[in-house]
Symmetry: C2
Subunit: 324 residues, 2 copies
């Protein structure tokens, strides 16, 4: 009997590393995890991870054959198979991740960042099936993006294409501080953290009453602002409006660079649905050059947020295989 082919999708985060075995239809057959931050050395991390993968696969292996490893990681470099200067991982500098994996397997190993993985995941399993030109924007703690041009993920010369979260909304130095060291990056507006920052700004400028005035910056999260907005909280609604204004402004730039068929929003902030989509779409249209107006679809990601990272990571291997 021919075995079902699966890809091991691995999502490396600052705290946990989650993996699963994913078939071509996006079914996840087994999932497990290890603690990323228990391993001060990447070598030890990869060995432990590999052991855990083998153990997990043993439980399902009578039916399945692993055909490769797709890894999503912060600052994952798809050209080199490395992780380079990540802010939130225990391993500093450049980690040759694919090389470390190759000590344990002869199968293909692909490394990239989570936004690129989400973009390929959208193409292989999600709402971008059949699309040739689209962009996925991830709106989580930060903001990432993955560009697909003519059916292929854009890598860039150094493997770092799609860092639009760190393009600025205006020139000058009187803009919001970003964790990257620059000022005014769109990520400081269009992300869960950005929404909180904007809420504080609106709260400072306005005298409207709001239940959210009870909470500290640290206590607040995007979900609370979302819930308040649904209940008609004017400050929360204004924060979403302003976030959509900044995001829509920047998405008009995205359209003018690669002229995509669609832009997908993915991640926590995208779950706010109309609260974020409506103002974003409105301001994007307002800022689009006339030849693009009414033509760029702004869509919700079809990857479930829960499994998206593992799905996205696994999709890289399917994608490369199908282009060969």
């Amino acid at each position: 009997m021919e075995k079902r082919q699966v890809v091991t999708g691995i999502d490396i985060g600052g705290t946990n590393t989650v993996f699963g075995f994913v078939d071509r239809d996006g079914n996840i057959l087994g999932e497990d995890r290890i603690k990323t931050n228990h391993y001060p050395e990447a070598t030890g991390f990869v060995s432990a991870l590999f052991e855990k993968i083998v153990a997990a696969h043993r439980k399902i292996e009578q039916d399945t054959e692993i055909i490769g490893f797709g890894i999503g990681a912060p600052m994952g470099n798809i050209n080199k198979g490395t992780i380079e200067y990540p802010a939130d991982l225990p391993w500093k500098g450049i980690t040759p991740l694919a090389e470390l994996f190759k000590r344990h397997t002869d199968l293909p190993v692909v490394v990239t960042n989570d936004a690129n993985a989400a973009a390929v995941g959208e193409m292989i399993y999600g709402g971008a099936k059949g699309m040739k030109d689209f962009v996925v924007i991830t709106l989580g703690t930060g903001m990432g993006s993955g560009f697909v041009v003519d059916g292929k993920l854009v890598y860039g010369h150094d493997g770092f294409a799609g860092e639009i979260g760190h393009t600025s909304i205006r020139p000058g130095t009187s803009n919001r501080d970003c964790g990257c060291g620059k000022k005014g990056c769109i990520e400081t507006y269009a992300s869960a953290t950005g929404l909180k920052r904007t809420l504080l700004k609106v709260m400072a400028d306005s005298i409207s009453p709001s239940d959210l005035r009870k909470y500290s910056f640290e206590e607040l999260d995007a979900k609370m602002i979302h819930d308040a907005a649904l209940k008609g909280d004017q400050i929360a609604i204004a924060a979403f409006e302003h976030t959509g204004m900044m995001l829509g402004f920047k998405l008009a730039d995205v359209a003018a660079h690669t002229n995509p068929e669609a832009i997908f929003l993915f991640g926590g902030l995208a779950l706010a649905r109309d609260l974020i989509f409506e103002p974003t779409r409105r301001y994007m249209e307002e800022n689009l050059l006339y030849i693009y107006r009414g033509k760029v679809k702004l869509l919700e990601s079809k990857l479930s947020t829960q499994n998206a990272a593992v799905l996205g990571a696994s999709s890289l291997v399917w994608s490369i295989r199908e282009q060969q």
Copy 2:
């Protein structure tokens, strides 16, 4: 004897349409032109142009064989072979240019805008030979751009990728008016016209003496500002500095989208060399995310400005042929 293969490169401008027969090394074997604005109908224009091409080719045909037609035109759509709503041509709406050409020939006909043509020209004949990921920015009366990703020109879903001249430098409505109907487009700064506008702004704000105060906006051109700056005119120098600030800011965005190996500057404004390259490079570096710093080359185009449009247009046919 085998004939030398040539492509007919055609540059359609508002006043003149220039064409030439270009071999694979970028040698132009014959050049001629017709008046674009003498033809109120595109059908008549194409017939007259084709007649002129046949006549010009007759003079050299014993040696050469035409293998295709590459056409650069404002708002040229590479997906559809059309010109769509151009501002400066006599034919309004959508002109099915490739289709009209096909009435006269069975050879390949490719249509695109001048910035895309310049990008492919740079790859086939110019400074981007061997590069896989780069961007060409054209700085003329307006500002255009052509993106090459993984060795291929980015078309986009609607055939209109690379209109970064019409991305805005900041959100809001208190920005410079652009001819496209929007506000604050980078083209209103980074172009020959933009330089003049910036000069007037600097002149208004400053009390420095300047020979340029003698000239009206209409009398001024980029060359005069260039010459004045070379002679130490502080207002002209400040205008270049500000232009470089805006352009560098926007080129950092370009780097974050597709992570190119190089960005080429092409066109009249690029001829100002260090006056424009130095501030542009400085502000680009300042605005780059750390992973890109020191890695994105800012280069002068190697296409001669004089023949670039015809060269660029012809390169499209070579490029498509070599990818087959």
